[in-house]
């Protein structure tokens, strides 16, 4: 059975979350928000971290495609 590549789903979800949080962090952070999180712009930083995670997974999926190894050699069991 050949399942789709989970790494691309992870990249998609966290890419989206990352972008949204960075935008919120940069453009829509109030003084109250900052005070709540001890002065840290936590949305911005968490967003950046998630975007990095997304890029890492996308890169991994591109560099090492899921079925590359098995495509080259015929399946022995068949």
């Amino acid at each position: 059975m050949r399942l789709f590549d989970l790494r691309l789903i992870i990249a998609f979800l966290f890419g989206l979350y990352g972008v949204v949080l960075v935008v919120v962090g940069l453009g829509f952070t109030s003084e109250d928000d900052l005070r709540k999180a001890e002065g840290v712009n936590i949305n911005l930083w968490a967003g950046v971290a998630m975007a990095v995670l997304a890029v890492a997974f996308a890169a991994w999926a591109l560099v090492r495609p899921q079925f590359a190894d098995t495509d080259k050699q015929p399946l022995k069991e068949l």
Binding site: Y17, D32, N43, A46
Partner: protein, 565 residues
Amino acid sequence: MSVSVLAEADLRLDAGPLDYALLVIYFVVVLGIGVMARRSVSSSLDFLLSGRSLPAWVTGLAFISANLGALELMGMTANGAQYGMATVHYYWIGAIPAMVFLGLVMMPFYYGSKVRSVPEFMRRRFGKPAHLVNAVSFAVAQVLIAGINLFALAVIIDALLGWPLPVSICVAALVVLAYTTLGGLSAAIYNEVLQFFVIVAALAPLTIVGLIKVGGWQGIVEKVTDSEQLSAWPATELTGINSPVWSVIGLVFGLGFVLSFGYWTTNFAEVQRAMSAKSMSAAKRTPIIGAYPKALIPAIIIIPGIIAALIVPEMTRLKAGDTDTGVAYNDVLPLLMRDLLPNGILGIAITGLLASFMAGVAANVSSFNTVFTYDLWQDYVKKDRPDEYYLRVGRWATVGACVLAIGTAFIAAALGGSNIMDYIQALFSFFNAPLFATFILGMFWKRMTPTAGWVGLLAGTFTAIFIYAVSEPSFGIELLELPGQGASFLGAGLAFVVDILVSVAVTAVTRPKPDSELVGLVYSLTPKEDRAHATTGEDAGWYRSPALLGGGVIALTAVLYFVFA
């Protein structure tokens, strides 16, 4: 009075449209995974065991995620707040050795014998009576635990967002039902891996902001007044055993050996993840890869608990002995989220909590339907039907499991307590500790007879139930006084010993199976090459050696104990 896991404080979060949008995106992806995974399902093995096709990093993260359910998150942050650093034992001595043991010692038999479930191994090793005991008790336990998970989820949604309990129970069950009926185990496992990252994304910011607020690790050390809370040993508060020596013995033998090995090595909801791996090497590596995040994750589970006890006003008062604060230790995560997180990341945190709760339920359901289909229906009800028939049974079993879980969620509401972990530990000790005794004896002692298999199992289980009954205060027959987790350690330990003694005694007077039927199931009768894994193709490379990875995580855990305990 209906027991609430979360006491009636003001936990209502200030969730805005943005938070809800992030939550909705997650649910769309979760359901999408179910829809997409459906295309890969063409046989019952695809549906119930992912066609044994998944890479080790996926099964490894799913292995750890299946265990990161509601009870784990709420219970362990609560333990962090209540007992402090001693809680690390659940992650280190209480998990890592057992996970490495499962990978290196037991997986060769589980994966090599091509059984499709843990009860099926039981059937081939000990025959039908032991199989039936194992399959039925597992199926019942999974439905019970799924119900508790659903209930915990509903309580927290009620507290956080104000949805009525029945609505959340049914909505969550329906979402789990949708993706597991469509995509089977693959959908459950893919979602578990996704959930792992969402939980980390939820808890890491909470921990970081919390640490900044409290002044870093140094701030914790200065502010925690009871120095015992900062050291993991001898954990007398956690075990409820006053003597430090016996407390350590209880931890090492009760938690570290019996409870933990029983849980990690025989619980099919866990082992199933490894069985779905694509090769023997990947199956061996599954629990070991899972052990790395398991060793590190206390940083974002226990530390928030400790921090909450320092900076959340209600929690500080509770810790000081004030019983009228309106909060319980289980409220740690919602309280921290309320106090520390602004909208946006708050939505991610809510998503992480709900994701964790749902994945717990999905793990219960997806292991239940495999045992129901292969071990109960195929073995005892309708044999020798075409495979499409069992695929259909598997789908209907999923529906049945979700309906039963909704039912048990309401039962769980009547059984809940201030620390739900106590109950779940007790449940596991009923089933898992004797199971481990029987498995380990059966795997390494070929003489052990089929009769000894089921008699030992029953004797052990009744021992655990007996100890629970006479030590649980709410039952009113309290012969043993062990607050904390001491009772479940003792119950599990005694269940293990009784199981071994009874099994040995019964074996002495009953007839063993012929050697020819035990090939692949017992150590001395399984050729070495059948237990070995390939080291070519996608299993090549020194960094994929199960033994090396296993040694690595044991070393990591030893270092962590040295530094933090």
